[in-house]
Subunit: 162 residues, 2 copies
DNA sequence: TACAATGGCTAACGGTGTTAGCTAGCCCTG
DNA sequence: CAGGGCTAGCTAACACCGTTAGCCATTGTA
């Protein structure tokens, strides 16, 4: 639901409330249950769409890596996409995935670029962990004040590039 | 508060409820507010203690790295500590830190082992991001079923040890 | 024209963190 | 020893949360 997404992106994940969403749609909260069995299912619809969009950007980054190399291009795209939609990124990546409500195969497809960039399944997962760790720690303000995160990304990219 | 910690470790973070905690202590929920200004402050007390314990294990790992080298020893200790107390690890590391309710300097101290192990502030942050990413993604069951995470950890360690 | 499905509604339930206001007991002081 | 304040408990209540039950108007179809 596009209205749900707008609330999440504009005011954060916890601002999405059945009553809040209903009121922006001009109805009452229980009416939403005629369209989604549960709040989690509603979120799953948003996650599904976001996963497609994030995945597209990653695929594009490894398909046309430019002079940076696939790993650096992928990391740059990953960071940019996440920081452009922080609340959406959190919704998609933190906590358990509602897999039964998602398009089959979409999750794997979105992760493929890490395999393409590294050519090795274990290195791919390690690289993904690094990227997610960097993003989520930045979004949660866990790095010391004044950290040079550009340089930290570079250090990580260098470690994974050889 | 040790009772709060026991609830979190035993039944997960969301099981910690003011009423639930109060009832295990034989009181009513509002009485808890005579001791903690808010639920977040209560959690901060648990986080403070957990940060001390997790930090101790990391310091020990880099102080006596054995034949593995500091980076591998640190990563092994990090993963073991987190998986031994998953709910506590989540409480400490996901979402914003209630810094004003924490022992000053404790957060920095707990992160020091990453600097000791790498000798470089940017590589230290990158290594921390990798470790946290690995742990939180494993706890949230985000890796494909049947992943060989031992091997993924090794791949990451190799990238950062060079 | 009758019927069933769709999609809205109100009322309500049990849960959450939190506040207000009261009170019983304790300690310190006059 | 009397009195006053502080501590730490209590009950009642508030606003909010996801969710369910049950009702009803509209719509599309047989």
């Amino acid at each position: 639901m596009t209205a749900a997404r707008r609330i999440i992106e504009g005011e954060g994940e916890e601002a999405l409330t059945m009553r809040r969403l209903a009121s922006t749609l001009g109805l009452q909260a229980p009416s939403l249950y005629k369209h989604f069995a549960t709040k989690r299912a509603l979120e799953a619809a948003v996650i599904d769409q976001a996963l497609l969009e994030f995945g597209s950007r990653l695929h594009a980054a490894v398909a046309a890596p430019g002079r940076l190399g696939a790993v650096r291009s992928l990391l740059a795209a990953y960071r940019a996409a996440a920081l452009a939609h922080p609340a959406l990124y959190r919704l998609v990546t933190v906590g358990p995935l509602p897999r039964e409500d998602l398009t089959p195969g979409l999750e794997d497809w979105a992760g493929e670029p890490f395999f393409s960039a590294t050519g090795d399944p274990w290195l791919a997962q390690a690289l993904f962990s690094f990227a997610h760790g960097m993003v989520i720690l930045e979004l949660d303000d866990r790095f010391p004040a004044g950290s040079d995160l550009d340089r930290t990304w570079k250090a990580g990219a260098a470690a994974f590039s050889r």
